[in-house]
Every structure is written in C-alpha cells, then in structure tokens.
Symmetry: C2
Subunit: 139 residues, 2 copies
C-alpha cells in the first residue's frame, strides 16, 4: 500500500499536485479503497493520523484529484457524495436495504440504439443494479 503510493509520487508531481503530508494520507487511504467513502469517511480516517486536519482540506484535495482525473465522484447516494479511486469506468450494485455499494468487476456490454440517442454524442455510461445483498437477505 505504502509502496504503491511511493511509486506514484512522481505521477502526482507530474500532475502538478503538491504533496503535503495530509494529501499523502488521503491518497494512502484512497489507494485501492473499495468502500466508496464519503468526505466524512475520509476525514475521520485521516484525522487519526493528523488530528489537526480540517474538512476544508479534505474537500479541496478531493476537488483537485477530481479535476486531475484521478478520482471519480459518485452520484449514487442521495444523502452525500461518495468517491471512488478506481477511475477506469465500472458499474455498481446497490443494496436497497443496507445501502452498501459494491463494484462490478465484469465488463457489461451496454449499448444504446442510435435512434434513442436523442442527438447526443455518447462518451460513456454507468449502470446501477439495485437489489438485496447476501447479508440482508439472510435476515
């Protein structure tokens, strides 16, 4: 984990991102994270290392990463924004009961007929599947 971040330092330098300790902690927390964390999740996690951390720093860093194309903002949760460090396009399963969000690893062939495109030039897509997860069903 730490090694992976270390290897990426030159990538962030190249992007023109100034690497402060706070940012490194955020990057380390996000690296490989599959939990689709909210800003608060990130704040709480990183604050254990940097008790002086402020929410503004979290939001500003997330905004920077987003603009550099290194972080996806998910509009999936009606209550708050969630973030996903996996920037290659993928899809999600959402549990209607516990609201858990799980990545779908498989490729999904989704296509839209030309006549349904309404004049759009389509550049990407995102599929959400709704249902009930294993744990919730067991109850």
């Amino acid at each position: 984990m730490k090694i992976s971040i270390a290897n990426n330092i030159k990538k962030y330098r190249a992007l023109g991102i100034k690497l402060t300790p706070q940012r490194l902690a955020i990057l380390e927390y996000l690296d490989g994270n599959k939990n689709h964390p909210s800003a608060e999740n990130i704040y709480e996690a990183v604050r254990r290392k940097f008790p002086m951390m402020s929410f503004a720093t979290v939001y500003k860093t997330l905004e920077t990463l987003k603009q550099k194309g290194d972080l996806l903002e998910l509009t999936i949760d009606p209550l708050r924004r969630r973030y996903d460090p996996s920037t290659k396009s993928h899809h999600h399963l959402i549990c209607n009961t516990c609201k858990k969000i799980v990545d779908i690893e498989a490729e999904l062939p989704v296509s839209i007929p030309d006549k349904a495109k309404e004049g759009f030039e389509v550049t990407g897509n995102h599929v959400e599947f709704y249902g009930i997860c294993n744990e919730c069903r067991s109850r």
Copy 2:
C-alpha cells in the same frame, strides 16, 4: 393535462392522499413533466398559483408521493435531488456540458452475469449515458 389529473383523482384518493389545492397544483405540474425538476423548480412553478406555498409543503408532498410509489427520486445530479413522475423504469442521457437530463424511450437489454452478482438478488437497474447533447455540440 387538467383532464388527466381529474381522471386520476380517484387514484390518489385510493392511495389515501388528501387532495389539497397545493397538492393538485404540484400534481398538475409534474404530470407528464420530462424536465426532471428539482424541489425548487416545483416550488417556483407552483408558487405562481399559490404565493403562500411553502417549501416544506413541496418537500412533504414529494416525500408522500415517493412513498406511495407515484414519483421517482433521481440521484443523478450531485447538487440537488431531482424528481421524475415517470415511474416505469427507464434510463437517462446526461449532457456533460449543460447537465441536461433526457429520458431514453427505448428498452435496453442490460444483464449481469451471475458470477458478477456478488451474492445480490438483483431487482432492477438504471443506466446513465454521458455525452454531449446536440445543442452543446453546435457551439
């Protein structure tokens, strides 16, 4: 439009929804509306008829309709919730530039391989296509 609402009055009665003038105005505004309005859009529109209307009434009515299954809440816009009176499952095109949201009329065969289901019992899905709309491309 008014006729369609009139025909539906017994439906709402049957749902146990008390039909106040404010609610009728909201229902009329929503009926057949393809603009995916926000609570504020609805408030502004209905306020022209009922200047005394309050935001709380809009939100409470939307919540009621949602719970009766007569309105969908869209989690598509990161800035605010939007509502869709078309309750039969459908998909959306979203313009990256002007943020317009357009309904897709066609059926889309979307399926997920069993091995990708992560133990979920899948009950529905929603596809978002991203791109650039005709108007934005013309500039």
